[in-house]
Symmetry: C2
Subunit: 306 residues, 2 copies
């Protein structure tokens, strides 16, 4: 039984209305790993340049992240992204994208990762995601896919191939509409589930998330926050909490996925409290339990009163 | 014990991407009455012209709506509104507004309405809402206020006077931001509750609703719908379901308000299925119970799995 995560490891530079970060550690794979290791060990597939700090790699190893699948290209540079958030924190401008090592990334799945039970495909080029799926000799129990509008625009055919091999897709509401061509999210869900995934998670940021499966739907709330300091990585952290909980409980039922979405939402609510991965690095089990309890309070109501 | 509703009774003409209505019965007070009477009798305060159909008044009376507080101005015309919804159904253009009798509306509270326990102030000029509050010799157990951005723009001082006498305010998210000057809804809630209401309901349409009280918050989901046929009156119907449940149960606790929001949300989900008040006119208790059960399914999760 193992959880394999595929995703970028990167440098980010972030500007928000509240401040500006230096070049800090980022990347979908990094956020997923920092988050998921609260629940289960991670086998990581990624690529970094010679400029990626050894201290970060050591910190991840200490966190029970197996880095055998992380290629280190000594003479090249790590993927770099820089962005600026608008006042509403829901929209952002990309200022700089330097693909660097990510531009030629050819993932190699180590033999020791062939025991993969849970495969979390972080947001990345669909061709890379597909390569990892195809290298696994045994189909994982659950393949979870995160993607974004960018790939729908430039690599839709590749993305459709990945979708056909995916169990759970997570996208935001505008991406669900774009991918399906349906404005109604209920219709969008039906269209997308016909493309492969039996489960669809639609992330709606401050409005929570929806889980669709067959004719069932679950609505998870988002915790209303006094301040969102930095939304970067919130979606990746959600993915990490989701797959971490699934791996820990080894249960892929609809009921358990509902719980996994609450766990993912709770973890994402931590992520946005500080720049980058900072808040994720020193969470205790008690912190997490307390935050999940807040979600229970937030969503519970008594219908026996009716 | 009685539930008094103040609100417009009107004609509407509605265009949506799915069709166009004739001049049909509308108005906040009408929607609230049709909805709330599923739960409790209503004493209605409003004004109509001589053109308002007697058959509609008779239907409301048969529905246990006491119309003693409804002024009929034989020689004048009923308020008329016409609007066109955009494809996303969240935004609309007003095509025609003819205030007619509403322009000079001076509400008179009948003596038989002085037993008012629950006062639902539907969306209307704050001066009219204030006049009704001031005519009541005994303060109701609960005053619930619906309003909109329009009144914040042209009658903010009046609105603030009403707010100071209100227990529960219901507005949408952009209105909460406008009224408070805060982007964060948590901060907006604090600011607004300092203006008078101890409870704040923020309606988010397809994203559900939030209830704030002291340091507590409840997030109600909205039922994901395959099609929204006509959103007109959904907010009024929500208000009607909310206050109807409160009046029926005679319980103004935070816990019961959570349930009332679920009831209001369920009723609003019916409203949008057809043009105008049509769907509200023939709901059975079984229909309502079934829809509320869908909300329970939608929102429930088991955290013992964590």
């Amino acid at each position: 039984m193992s959880l394999v995560v595929v995703g970028s490891m990167a440098f980010d530079a972030i500007e928000t209305p509240f401040g500006k970060s230096d070049k800090i550690i980022g990347g979908a794979g990094t956020y997923i790993a920092w988050c998921a290791t609260n629940f289960a060990p991670v086998k990581q597939i990624s690529v970094v340049g010679g400029d990626f700090p050894q201290s970060e790699l050591d910190a991840l190893t200490a966190r029970s992240v197996d880095l055998e699948g992380v290629q280190i290209k000594k003479d090249e540079k790590t993927f770099f992204w820089s962005g600026r958030y608008h006042m509403d924190m829901n929209s952002r401008d990309t200022l700089v994208t330097e693909l660097n090592v990510l531009g030629s990334f050819n993932p190699v799945v180590p033999n020791s990762f062939q025991d993969c039970t849970y495969l979390m495909l972080g947001n990345l080029a669909p061709a890379v995601q597909l390569s990892v799926i195809n290298q696994l000799q045994k189909r994982p129990k659950l393949v979870v896919l995160d993607t974004m509008n960018f790939w729908m625009e430039i690599a839709l055919d590749d993305l459709k191939q990945v979708l056909a091999k995916t169990d759970v897709l997570m996208v935001n509401d505008s991406e669900a509409r774009q991918l399906s061509g349906n404005y109604s999210l209920v219709k969008a869900a039906k269209t997308i589930m016909a493309m492969g995934p039996q489960f669809l998670i639609i992330k709606k940021g401050e409005h929570g998330a929806l889980l669709f499966h067959e004719n069932k739907v679950f609505a998870a709330p988002a915790l209303p926050l006094e301040e969102v300091f930095d939304p970067t990585g919130a979606g990746d952290t959600f993915a990490g909490g989701f797959i971490g909980h699934i791996a820990k409980t080894n249960d892929v039922s609809f009921e358990n996925m509902k719980t996994a979405i609450i766990v993912g939402s709770a973890m994402a609510s931590f992520c946005v409290e500080k720049f980058g991965t900072e808040r994720l690095r020193n969470l205790t089990d008690a912190d997490i339990k307390e935050r999940i309890d807040e979600f229970v309070q937030l969503a519970s109501f008594d219908i026996n009163l009716v």
